[in-house]
């Protein structure tokens, strides 16, 4: 049935700031068995869709299921790859074009594994986590984002 281990919080209200990311990197400098970090950042694009420009994405999620899926992705990644640590943060609510909505951070003693692990985790998030994105245009109309 459901895994009962404590889950790390993933969702953050609004954009993920560069200060938050810098600080997260800083905290890993005490872990002196780490030799390689790999970080993925998803940033909201100001896409031009038939002449209308995306100004922001408003994220919602089926939070209970999403947290469960993030947890499963996390557990499986630790099983598959020799990682020292892993952090996942995803925005909820409004994230403006140019701002960061996804921050995935993996660390390992050696580099080869972090590349594989990071891509695996990001692809799993895109495919398996019930997060929904409403692309808001500058004229306040909207369309729904679909991952490709």
């Amino acid at each position: 049935m459901k895994d009962k281990k404590p889950m790390k919080p993933v969702f953050k209200e609004g954009a993920i700031t560069s200060d938050f990311i810098g600080n997260s990197i800083y905290k890993h400098q005490t872990k002196t068995n780490i030799g390689a970090h790999n970080i993925f950042l998803g940033q909201v694009r100001a896409d031009d869709i038939n002449g209308k420009i995306v100004s922001a994405i408003e994220y919602t999620a089926y939070e209970d299921m999403a947290n469960q899926k993030f947890h499963e992705i996390r557990e499986l990644a630790f099983k598959k790859f020799d990682l020292t640590c892993m952090h996942i943060y995803h925005s909820l609510g409004t994230v403006k074009a140019g701002e960061i909505c996804l921050f995935v951070f993996v660390s390992s003693p050696r580099r080869k594994v972090v590349f594989k692990a990071l891509e695996y985790i990001v692809e799993a998030i895109k495919a398996d986590v019930p997060v929904f994105g409403k692309e808001i245009f500058e004229d306040e109309s909207h369309q729904w984002k679909v991952n490709s």
């Binding site: 994405i57 919602t60 469960q68 998030i125 895109k126 398996d128 997060v131 729904w144 991952n147």
Partner: protein
């Protein structure tokens, strides 16, 4: 039975509600979907998956009484 049904994203735009308790006597997920399509005509134009108790299920799965969610395409990241 009464089943809690949750709607998200563009599906919630169709249903105009995010959650409801739906009275239903069928056995299968597909039967529940038929009933929802009758209630919300515009669902037929929408792409979505169904989760029961937070796991994706296909139409031939039996209803357990756990929460059902209608999930439009995922767009995380």
């Amino acid at each position: 039975m009464h089943i809690t049904i949750k709607y998200f994203g563009q599906i919630a735009e169709v249903t105009q509600i995010r959650e409801e308790s739906f009275k239903f006597s069928g056995n299968l997920v597909s039967e529940l979907l038929d009933a929802l399509h009758l209630k919300y005509k515009d669902l037929k134009n929408k792409d979505f998956k169904v989760a029961q108790n937070q796991e994706l299920v296909s139409g031939d799965v039996k209803l357990t009484g756990d929460d059902i969610a209608l999930l439009p395409p995922f767009a995380g990241g």
